[in-house]
Amino acid sequence: MQFEVLAKCHTTRARVSRMRLAHGVTMLPTFMPVATQAAIKGLTPQQVEALGINLILNNTYHLNLRPGIQVLKEAGGAHKFQGWNHNLLTDSGGFQLVSLSKFTKITEEGALFASPFDGSPTMLTPEESISIQHAIGADIIMQLDDVVSSLTVGPRVEEAMWRTVRWLDRCIEFHQKSGEDDVQNLFAIVQGGLEADLRDKCLDEMIARKDRVAGYAIGGLSGGEEKDVFWRVIKQCADKLPEDRPRYSMGIGFAEDLLVCVALGVDMADCVFPTRTARFGVALTFKGPLNLRLSKHSADMRPIEEGCPCPTCSSGITRALLNHTATLETAAAHAITQHNLVFQARVMGGARDAIMNGTFPQYLKDFFANYFGDAGYPEWCVNALRSVGVDLLEGKPDTRVVSGDGAKWEYSDAA
């Protein structure tokens, strides 16, 4: 990997960088759409590329089950299997073991789980995870980590943190011996729950291994913790992680979360949210999400968002047509998915431009004014951005600030 920081925001910790991997250059900060089963839901890889996207994510757990490593090897790796010519990242499979399997037991050796096919006990070790990711062939691979829910408290959090460090060593060793380490880049995952001292210890350990990891992820978040705690953990990690390594915040996808993370120094994020919500008929816009299933859109001849360059808006698809087809025709899911991925890319692309031009603080203010103007700013965003020198409320004494998560949703016709 070649990683070069091109510009830094003069106020916040945000930065623009160029990351060269085996399948090309990706400009950071960026959002990575999730192709869990080797497909962005509803789109062909050519369609994804046309959206200006060149880094996507596959899930190791799912691909290991289906199509299985043997098939991927025969096909020449996941890139060839799915016809994707650009950069690819795989997770380690650890998160799904915990979120999808009720019977997973973590031992020092690895994660012991019941095979979803026959229920037989199966062990996923750090070495096995890396080996599977080698067969998949992603440009960025993740260490196996000991994932605990972000709501867990007590000694289990510390245990998981230390085990994650030990498993990182096993992953590094296996990866370097394999000879794949010149094409595939291993990322470490910082754990430690919501406790600052544990995060700090984990950061120290992992930074000590810097020469043998290509980048760092911040894990163990987006599990229902309070947003005001979430951003503090991100800030703590991003502040301490080395300048010359990309920083990846796992499972982040709401636009406001993305921008706060970027301001705190995060370079990459992934989430199923924009693609999943599209299938339920929700389109993302700079004025907030639109629930296209609501009857108020049924005769609305406007595109989802004026001026949006996505294939859906630029071809003149109206809210009314999407109201007619959403959740009933897969074509509606395709169209809204295309739009939502472009929305995410525009949010991040706008951030890149603003950072390059030295206008990122203003970009944040404009974004929040547009997106939350009438609904009120989430308090945690205001706090988080203040911590890096941007006061969203500056010169806006009348702006409402709402506590809690502050997500903005169009639930029903009554709203």
Partner: protein, 553 residues
């Protein structure tokens, strides 16, 4: 300048028999005439869109030119949104079809929907939408059509969608209503500024009774009686106002199957996800019966009007109707439905030479016990798990055809077999250009990419990924379009009728018509759909209730 005639015949064999022609859509608005060589493909839509296709997928699928639009799904809002669009080409504009390429035919009902329906009335037709059944009366339909301005439109007709057999009284009523509805549709409006619908197609009524069908056609060609003539000038007969004929095969198949004591129960397919048409099959016998019925209708009618056939169930049936009757547009519902259930079509007409399609690197479809080959591949089948070859053995893919000239297979130009890198990529910031203009890794636009392979589509089907159906639908429509092109080519030979006959025999000997493959695919598709698809939770709850019934919970 007078408008180009809607239809011209180039090769014809009298009243009935194979023919080649050209459908010419002249909108008389200064735009170029859209010409389509026939027999041609009519793409089916659902809720106004080609199933599984985003607009860019429609654009890259050359097979999609003629499009059939059932109006009924839009009845769930009043007024229907299609009537609110306005402009010169409201349907094209709203639904995203290209005015210079796509020809839109509007019908009230979806001809592939064979569900049992409440009866029509003397002055209304029953139609389906998500909110239930809606009655559409004649003036309303006329207003909708005027507002939608379709390129072609099918007049309302009274087809019973109750289980057959239908009494003679019912058939008589059907004919009376269909005739009077057509007359009403053709009659100019009181408001002279409102334009009359052009290119009106009529469904030839009469059910599975040759006499009744003949009767309906006779009525079309009889001089209009004085008392009915108001508003119908300059027509001498109703047929003068008709631009072409439509045959909906689905209700005919249902009736024929009932007569043959294999009733297809319209009210209750075995599974809520199955359609009535899924169990319809053709045979030489059923094709002959259909041909007789179509001939009975066409006998008194002029030959120079295009004949539209909806919902044929196999390529064999299409071939026989081409040979026995002469048909010009054929809907693609059958091939599109195959894409829903995981079937990738793999056949050609005329049948290719054996040597050209037997290749180790791309296996041909399975051969059944009777020696006949499947019309495609059921990609749900686990035998495709490790099959990394392109979808069809009888077509090459663009990428490998460009690299070697060793095989003489035609290329399947669909988005699954011959995908291309995008013509352009969106740039989201000024630095993005560094990703796409990379001297170390040139990324030419619109460059052919390797084909999507069977193992990948197999994986997508089992993981319930929507793009499996997109890839299959692009491919299947393209294969069906190539099949129709093959018919046109054979009919371009020196002795078209004999050549066609010879090639049809070869086709019948080569390809399986029982379509066991479809049954196998549908079963596997339902398994995945029930395990992962929409309504899964409700079904699981239902199962749990059923399994705990009678036990103390």
């Amino acid at each position: 300048m007078t408008a180009a005639p809607l239809f011209t015949l180039c090769v014809t064999s009298g009243k009935f028999g194979p023919r080649v022609g050209s459908l010419n859509l002249d909108r008389e608005d200064g735009t170029p005439v859209i010409r389509t060589p026939t027999p041609a493909l009519l793409t089916a839509t659902s809720r106004g869109v080609v199933p599984h296709f985003s607009r860019d997928s429609v654009q890259i699928t050359g097979a999609i030119q003629h499009i059939q639009l059932p109006f009924e799904s839009f009845l769930d809002r009043n007024p229907p949104v299609l009537t609110l669009v306005g402009g010169a080409r409201p349907l094209h504009q709203f639904l995203g079809y290209e005015t210079d390429k796509h020809v839109l035919t509007l019908t009230l009902r979806d001809p592939s929907d064979g569900r049992k329906m409440p009866p029509n009335g003397n002055d209304f037709m029953s139609a389906h939408c998500t909110r239930g059944v809606r009655k559409v009366n004649l003036p309303t339909w006329k207003t909708y059509v005027q507002k939608c301005k379709p390129d072609l439109v099918v007049a309302l007709s009274d087809t019973p969608f109750t289980p057959p057999p239908h009494s003679q009284k019912r058939m008589t009523k059907s004919i009376e209503r269909s005739i009077s509805w057509l007359a009403d549709f053709l009659r100019v409006l009181d408001d002279p500024s409102a334009s009359c619908p052009r290119n009106v197609l009529v469904h030839l009524a009469g059910g599975a009774e040759p006499h009744a069908r003949g009767e309906f056609a006779d009525r079309l060609t009889e001089p209009i009686e004085q008392k009915d003539a108001v508003g119908l000038s300059p027509f001498n007969t109703l047929d003068d106002g008709v631009a072409g004929y439509v045959f909906d095969l689905l209700p005919l198949h249902t009736t024929l199957a009932a007569e043959a004591c294999r009733p297809i129960e319209p009210s209750s397919p075995v599974d809520e996800l199955l359609k009535v048409s899924d169990s319809q099959r053709s045979s030489p016998d059923s094709s002959i019966r259909l041909a007789e019925l179509l001939q009975a209708s066409l006998d008194p009618l002029p030959v120079h009007k295009p004949r539209f056939v909806n919902s044929p169930v196999s390529p064999h049936e299409i071939l026989r109707l081409v040979r026995e009757v002469g048909i010009d547009l054929v809907d693609g519902f059958w091939a599109q439905r195959a894409a829903d259930i995981g079937v990738a079509l793999d056949f050609r007409f005329p049948v290719p030479a054996e040597s050209s399609i037997t290749s180790a690197d791309c296996p041909a479809p399975r051969t059944r016990k009777d020696g006949k080959m499947d019309l495609g591949h059921n990609l749900f089948d686990s035998m495709y798990r490790h099959d990394h070859s392109r979808l069809a053995s009888s077509f090459s893919d663009g990428h490998s055809a460009g690299q070697s000239h060793s095989n003489d297979l035609p290329v399947c130009p669909c988005g699954a077999c011959s995908p291309r890198s995008p013509a352009s990529r969106l740039l989201h910031s000024s630095v993005d250009i560094q990703s796409w203009q990379d001297s170390q890794r040139p990324l030419p636009p619109s460059a052919l990419q390797p084909p999507f392979v069977r193992s990948y589509v197999h994986h997508l089907l089992h993981t319930h990924e929507m793009c499996s159906h997109t890839l299959l639908a692009m491919h299947n429509l393209t294969v069906l379009s190539a099949f129709l092109e093959g018919i046109r080519k054979v009919l371009g030979r020196e002795f078209p009728k004999d050549e066609l006959e010879k090639e049809i025999v070869r086709f019948e000997q080569k390809y399986d018509e029982d379509m066991v493959l479809w049954d196998e695919a549908a079963t596997m598709w339902l398994d995945v759909e029930h395990a992962r698809g929409k309504g899964r939770l409700a079904r699981e709850r239902g199962k749990q209730t059923a399994s705990t019934m009678g036990t103390a919970a």
